[in-house]
């Protein structure tokens, strides 16, 4: 059956006023460089560290996460203002690994409702808990290799969408799941360069996040290729 004139007109109207940029394939790119005012944020040791378990070394172990890029904990996200993006949980489960008494990665950006799995890869216990309102959970002590899944951000999280994670056994361990209301986000490379491609043109709130530094939030019009550098400081 061929669509009649009224149906075609309605369809075009919807396209024009809702997802106009997407409909016509007009996309933008936001790219630039992130600068951290603090080269590398030192890991804070456990409070009263001397009271820890004696089966492990005195000082916290150097982990892959601790020695990786200083930009590994930075997330750049673009939140559309002029249109409502289609938001879906990430289909592939995201993983937070516990290794060498560290969460890896320390910052995990996901879209709301994504299932995040936790795996303890240390030969000793961890206990992952979150006290973020609306996203409270405690997975308890889990054996090595045991996978526990949690759906993140089913209820909207105020502010930047931080779900803060801690370990009750190793007080120096902390991580953040960023539960985002946008599908447009990325992490910079090892040199701090970032690029958000295929953004529908429009007005956005761009956020640059690091758990230990003040976030940068800027509203901007994105059309074509836009270059923008950000500096994060305490």
């Amino acid at each position: 059956m061929k669509p009649n004139f009224l149906q075609v007109t309605l369809a075009l109207t919807v396209l024009c006023f809702s997802n106009l940029p997407i409909a016509f394939g007009q996309t933008a790119e936001l790219k630039g460089k992130i600068t951290l005012s603090v080269p590398k944020v030192s890991q804070r040791l456990a409070r009263g560290q001397a009271y820890r378990n004696r089966l492990a070394p005195e000082k916290p172990m150097e982990s892959k996460a601790m020695s990786s890029s200083a930009y590994a904990d930075v997330v750049v996200s673009a939140h559309p203002i002029s249109f409502k993006p289609k938001l879906q949980p990430l289909t592939k489960n995201r993983t937070i690994d516990q290794r060498d008494a560290t969460f890896i990665p320390r910052v995990l950006p996901v879209t709301q409702g994504t299932v995040v799995q936790f795996i303890n890869n240390d030969p000793f216990y961890h206990n992952v808990f979150s006290l973020t309102p609306g996203n409270e959970f405690n997975i308890g002590r889990r054996m090595r290799g045991e996978v526990v899944q949690k759906k993140i951000g089913e209820r909207k999280i105020e502010g930047l969408g931080e779900v803060k994670l801690f370990c009750d056994i190793h007080t120096q361990m902390n991580a953040v799941i960023l539960s985002l209301d946008t599908p447009y986000f990325t992490k910079p490379d090892a040199n701090g360069n970032y690029s958000l491609k295929d953004l529908p043109e429009g007005r956005y709130e761009v956020r640059v996040y690091h758990p230990d530094l003040m976030p940068v939030i800027e509203k901007m019009e994105l059309k074509g290729s836009v270059e923008k550098d950000f500096t994060l400081s305490r």
Binding site: Y51, P123, R141
Partner: protein, 406 residues
């Protein structure tokens, strides 16, 4: 004391400036508490005059950690508390130890440090203790005095004074800190370690220093057969008495260093998911003189030799903790504990008698994390001395703590 604290800070910050990194953190413990009619600091940690409901600052701690060099670090703790009298004491240095780690499996420490013996030594901060009080073997003072030795009148068979004059008695295991040098050797990471410390006194010593040629040795073997099971075996042996005008004359023919304490214990943690069962048992043997009727007991009337007594006691506790998964940040805990005194053979009367009455204590606790660094906990304890009638409202305590970490 003030000079000592100032010297500590000066040393810390001088070394800290030179160090690669220096970290300071702290813990403040507010408390609202009340105790039963027969409350006494040396039995249930609440001085009798403060048994009525009241609010206090229980402890204020500052922790220092400094990486002095690649393999050298410093750990310190300065503490203000109401220990003993219920009134705020002068600040004191609880922990001040330098550690050298030639590799990840070996560490050597010197100074004032946490005792290797047992489990509670690592849980004594109020933020890490599930309850408010120390276990009986750590917090219940028995009738052994560092100045007098076995002092029967100080026990449950005698009468405690009002606490204004120091009776000098001690606990089976005091304070969980030692002064000396220690080694922690991790034989198999996360499986087995051995800790040994050479100290200036046995674990019953209440003082960080000693005015006698006292010495002690403490050791613990820790094993983790499975992730859900940790077990420790500890031993300590050493002299613990202190020189005082009271024992100065007796010392001439009886070196006080010969009186010693042997402490043997085992501790365990079984844990899985939201449950934890932990505890420890320890047995103590004392070789001590006896002080009765205002004087030391001698071998016979004309002798200058003091009669030595061999006394033993046994104590232990079991903690059960559950973290309800439906109420994140909360926990419930239950503790059952007992300290018992075994009968001894009196070498003079030849009679076999008990040297004190046993005590049983039951405690419950509920805690909740208001935020990551703010904990709220309330506990109730009731303890009974053997022979007490059930209706005696004596040594119960209610303690609510607000613990702030920074």
């Amino acid at each position: 004391m003030k000079k000592r604290i100032l010297a500590f800070f000066a040393l810390f910050f001088t070394t800290g400036l030179l160090a690669q990194s220096t970290q300071v953190s702290g813990e403040l413990d507010f408390e609202f508490r009340a105790g039963g009619r027969e409350s006494n600091f040396i039995t249930n940690e609440i001085p009798n005059e403060f048994r009525y409901p009241h609010a206090v600052i229980n402890q204020f701690n500052l922790f220092f950690f400094s990486e002095l060099a690649e393999k050298w670090s410093f750990n310190g703790r300065v503490q203000l508390d109401i220990w003993g009298t219920g009134r705020l004491n002068q600040p004191r240095i609880t922990l001040a130890a330098v550690t050298y780690e030639p590799n990840t499996r070996l560490s050597l420490s010197a100074g004032r440090m946490i005792s290797p013996f047992g489990l509670y030594a690592r849980r004594q901060l109020l933020s890490q203790n599930l309850f408010a009080a120390a276990p009986l073997m750590y917090g219940y003072f028995i009738n052994i005095s560092e100045r007098r030795g076995f002092w029967p009148i100080a026990g449950n068979t005698g009468i405690y004074d009002d606490g204004s004059s120091d009776v000098g008695v001690t606990t089976a295991y005091f304070g969980a800190y030692v002064t000396g040098a220690s080694m922690n050797w991790i034989l198999v990471p996360n499986r087995m370690n051995i800790e040994v410390a050479v100290t200036n006194a046995a674990l019953a010593s209440t003082l960080p220093n000693t005015n006698l040629a006292n010495a002690g040795i403490v050791g613990r073997i820790g094993v983790q057969p499975a992730m859900w099971w940790q077990q420790g075996f500890s031993v300590s042996y050493g002299s613990f008495m202190n020189l005082d005008t009271l024992n100065e004359r007796a010392r001439a023919n009886n070196p006080l260093e010969q009186y010693r304490q042997l402490l043997i214990g085992t501790d365990f943690i079984f844990a899985y998911l939201w449950f934890e069962l932990s505890g420890e048992v320890m047995w103590s043997r004392w070789n001590v003189p006896k002080f009765a009727n205002g004087q030391f007991v001698r071998v016979n009337a004309g002798s200058s030799k003091l009669q030595e007594y061999t006394l033993t006691n046994l104590g232990g506790y079991v903690d059960f903790k559950i973290e309800p998964p439906f109420l994140t940040g909360s926990y419930l805990a239950f503790r059952a504990e007992r300290i018992a005194f075994e009968p001894f053979n009196d070498p003079i009367t030849k009679a076999r008698t008990y040297w004190d009455k046993g005590v049983t204590r039951l405690s419950v606790a509920a805690g909740y994390k208001l935020s990551r660094n703010v904990l709220l906990r309330t506990t109730y304890s009731d303890q009974r001395t053997d022979g007490d009638r059930r209706s005696d409202p004596d040594d119960w305590t209610v303690r609510t703590l607000l613990i702030v970490l920074f």
